[in-house]
Assembly symmetry: C2
């Protein structure tokens, strides 16, 4: 179902020859309206791929008729010719839909620094538009996979409307959006301003809180498209909650499928003097290679957790920090706590709780362990 769960949307995923293995690699999501309100959030990396530069312009208009997505090439660091390629793709899609290129968003993922094979991509876009259908959501989600082992989709029903979504991303996952593409759709009737506000609120506590390797991509894009086909003007708080659930679901799917990971780690920071402090501390732990290696080795090395927290400016007293791993408080008051042999690190899901004893705020960041497989996968990516 994914992006086609809400009414008003068609989608397709086709094999255009961009991936060497002949798998699906070009997708479209088409909003047939009646509304086409939309919003987007994009990478905060200053090196932005051509499709990001293009789509940022499109989203400034607050309307999206269609999104074209491709795997097999990021179209990043490709200069003016790469931007022209994005423009050409949008024009081709607009022509096929008898619409305006200014309302066609583009998302790309794959290797940085190479031009896209335009004849294949354009033919793929034509084919995708020609075959786009109400049951095309899963094929679209499949087409945007790179090293993702599974397609990521989600949908939920609200009061008189539905929200759907698809996402991809398995490496280069870090806040400022994880390296990822996601398209969220709804048949609720929303203005572009509402889309923007709701999308920012939802991504800030979901996609922005996963961090597999601290690396921020050039291509991150999350789009929200509203067709209005359900004819429902939703209660904004209800919609926000449901959208956050969908984003959270997709974000967790991304972390669970992160490149080479053997553990999914929730870093919960509690007792913080503010939410920013909690987030800062959680991210420092999530990016600490030594700690991530220890989890891979099923070693409850709380000293590395403390050493990571100690690099931040979060408010805490070193003698009052407590750390639990999978519920066992192995560090109390900044020193040895309960017996570390009680910590069971065999399950895939690991929870690290850091109590800063400085207040009552909390935040959680999801990350993964650092494994031999991660190194293998990322040492052989472009060769």
């Amino acid at each position: 179902m994914s992006v086609t769960a809400p009414r008003g949307f068609r989608a397709a995923g086709v094999a255009a020859g961009l991936k060497a293995d002949g798998a699906r690699d070009v997708a479209v999501v088409i909003n047939d309206g009646p509304s086409r309100a939309a919003a987007g959030v994009f990478t905060r990396n200053r090196i932005k791929a051509a499709p990001v530069l293009w789509s940022e312009q499109v989203l400034r208009g607050g309307r999206v008729r269609a999104v074209v997505l491709n795997a097999g090439g990021a179209n990043a660091c490709t200069g003016a010719p790469g931007f022209q390629d994005a423009h050409t793709t949008a024009e081709r899609v607009a022509e096929a839909l008898e619409d305006s290129a200014a309302e066609v968003a583009i998302c790309s993922t794959g290797l940085i620094g190479e031009r896209l094979p335009m004849p294949e991509l354009l033919a793929g876009a034509d084919e995708a538009i020609g075959t786009a259908a109400r049951d095309g959501g899963l094929a679209a989600a499949d087409a945007i996979r790179t090293t993702d082992s599974v397609a990521k989709i989600a949908f939920k029903r609200g009061s008189g409307y539905t929200i759907g979504g698809m996402a991809k991303g398995a490496g280069m996952l870090a806040p400022s959006l994880a390296t990822m593409l996601a398209v969220l759709t709804t048949d609720a009737d929303l203005t572009a301003e509402q889309c923007d506000r709701l999308l920012r609120r939802a991504t800030a506590v979901t996609f922005d809180r996963i961090d597999s390797d601290g690396c921020i991509s050039t291509n991150d894009t999350v789009l929200l498209l509203a067709s209005g086909a359900a004819g429902t003007v939703p209660d904004e708080a209800d919609f926000a909650a449901l959208l956050t659930e969908i984003c959270d679901d997709l974000a967790r799917q991304l972390v669970n499928d992160a490149e080479g990971a053997s553990k999914t780690i929730a870093i919960e920071v509690v007792g913080a003097a503010g939410e920013d402090d909690a987030l800062t501390a959680a991210r420092a732990v999530a990016r600490n290679n030594l700690f991530k290696c220890a989890v891979y080795g099923e070693d409850p090395n709380w000293g590395r957790v403390l050493a990571a927290v100690g690099t931040t400016d979060a408010e805490f007293d070193p003698d009052q920090v407590n750390v639990a791993i999978n519920g066992v408080w192995i560090c109390r008051g900044g020193a040895v706590g309960d017996d570390r042999s009680k910590v069971d690190l065999k399950p895939r899901e690991v929870t690290v709780t850091v109590d800063l004893s400085a207040g009552s705020d909390a935040a959680t960041v999801w990350t993964t362990d650092l494994t031999v497989e991660y190194v293998h996968e990322n040492s052989a990516y472009s060769t």
Copy 2:
């Protein structure tokens, strides 16, 4: 020679039983004067080991009679009892030297979160003081090794004086000092204020610019001890240059021996609008796991270099950044440059040059690749 190359110093390294394999694990460096001016720089991690807290107090006095160092335990996150252990050790050494504990510095390295075996440590300190000699520099450097595969020593002669040094550190190497212990000695006649100024100047451009894994230790300590035994008041600029050479030599030895590394990578950022910009950009590349994996795979993946630089606030225009790997400018103007197949990544030494085209400042950070061996070594450290 190491720390005993300058006159006025004795040292020893003994096996006290702190390391499971029976290797040397306790060292002393004794300054017999006539002067005992000294300075120290310490970790900027807010979680500071007990020996750091102790030695910071000692160095506030600007005088050091002796340094006791141990491997086999960091005495970090050990609370008040751990601090008392450091105090007790200093008292014991002071007693043996008939001197003041307030002039005995302590350095420890090893696992975080465990108390030191005090009977063994104190007996080792006694033995080390009893056997300290003018030829003990190498044994002392050997005793402070943890996962270091070799002892790191250096010395150089100036005009009428000598500077010597030893260091340890192989993981958790990141600015704010790499995770390391280093003791530098000189027989030049310097005031404590000069020691402090000269040490800060030298470490800022050497130890502070190596970064193996972005992890900042709880125990980093670099000490400079001046005996005045040569009777020479040095030209400060000459001394600064020589001390920087020694620190640079030791810092490079640390990077070359970093845990599990197969490549030593110099990240040179040139054309920066300021030295801070150059450093920020170089550090971002040095900490990018994806790039470090690519170097391990001998893949000249310049896109990952750009993506790392793009996460910083350094001044640059994405369309004017150039990147060379081992002298081949494979990225020009933010896009594809020379043929990447011309890059030879087989040698251990790798140089990445990033030209920001924004000014005339430059800085270099040394790092290593991210390897399967690094993950192995750090997933099995405390178990």
